[in-house]
Symmetry: C2
Subunit: 202 residues, 2 copies
DNA sequence: ATCAACACTATACGAATGTATAGCATAATA
DNA sequence: TATTATGCTATACATTCGTATAGTGTTGAT
């Protein structure tokens, strides 16, 4: 395997064709959805032919698996690099911020997850399970080091983390769209109402 | 394996074929999305042939327009029948409840709107604009009768109404899915964390 | 230098899609 | 009763889809 230690993953031209294909498909899926994205559109966006897409990923299912694994890697990388020092809320805040930074660096993640998670039952992939598992393992790890608050049940805390980090991102487009229609495009951004999404113990 | 989604055949049996087709398409779109639903699947679910679908709605776009108009009618009908008596918060509560009842009677509305509203950019229909308009007009009407609270700006209140009524419905499946995976299918439902979605003045 | 593995293109095929058209039966209208 | 409109079926067509296959050039190990 050819290594791609170009250290600049943003520059697409330095990437292997396989990575370029995955990135192109990722962006298209995030913007238009998997159903509305053809293999030919992916190939064209990546600057290759359809045959090469099939060669590297075999099927469209394989392509989605690669994309979803990539998303999990991004989450893992973000959480991993958050520092483990300070008080419990400080640690939680640091982890939340690391993930928030990753999401803002990779907008396709938000778009893809919004589409995948709004359809939790019928979705063909397993990205929600994978991310829930990842978050649960992280919470468990923190607990074992004695960091996390033990006041909440495990499940509640995991759900809280996911919803806090993703819920707002999913609903915000709806708020923005309505705000644009109601207040006009040149209204003061400061007046836009603030969206609050959280979960609380029942 | 032929599975009927959403619509009970009893209610369906004395409807016109045109209404049956719209209802079938509505339920399928809500469950699987428009892209994943073929005209032939709609025809089969409605017990007719493809030709009749085309005969009544011309194109797939026409079918979506009919569905979205039907949704607006359902909202309008629900709001219209809410009583205009009592204190301001009582009126607001009555309207919220009327809409909540309608949504619980028509689960396809929730499913359809979840898909349409979480995908505000790529969506081909105009259902978000239509519903925002409808809600805005309702708020204006109440204001003219001197009912609504004037503390909030118009836009904020409209967005608040929409988000309160729909936001939770959209995110709840994600919470449920995670709760199932983390706590198991036979965990006490009472322990499931509560989802909170709201907007506040900035 | 040879040979095998790999990256990649080109073309083709069957299935499924949205839509168009022609025809049939029944009910309304004259 | 004759005619016209309407609800509906059946079939066909062009396009697009995912995927399979065969082939070309290039790289890397022996």
């Amino acid at each position: 395997m050819k290594k791609t230690v170009g250290v600049s993953p943003k520059v697409n031209s330095d990437l292997t064709a396989k990575a370029r294909i995955r990135n192109a498909a990722f962006a298209l899926y995030a913007n238009y959805g998997e159903d509305a994205t053809s293999m030919r559109a992916i190939a064209e966006a990546a600057g290759v032919t359809v045959g090469l897409v099939v060669h590297h990923f075999r099927t469209k299912d394989g392509l989605r698996e690669a994309i979803e694994q990539h998303i999990v890697d991004l989450f893992f990388g973000a959480i991993e690099q958050a520092p483990l020092e300070g008080t419990t809320p400080e640690i939680a805040a640091a982890r939340d911020e690391a993930v928030a930074d990753m999401l803002s660096d990779n907008p396709a993640v938000v778009g893809y997850l919004r589409r995948a998670l709004l359809d939790p039952m019928g979705h063909r992939g397993r990205i929600l399970e994978m991310l829930t598992d990842l978050t649960a393992k992280q919470v468990a790890t923190l607990r074992n080091v004695g960091v996390a608050s033990k006041a909440q049940r495990d499940s509640s805390q995991v759900i809280g983390v996911m919803i806090r980090q993703l819920g707002q991102l999913f609903l915000q487009p709806m708020v923005d769209s309505m705000w644009n229609q109601l207040a006009g495009p040149n209204a003061a951004e400061d007046d836009k109402p603030l969206l609050v999404v959280k979960v609380q113990e029942s």
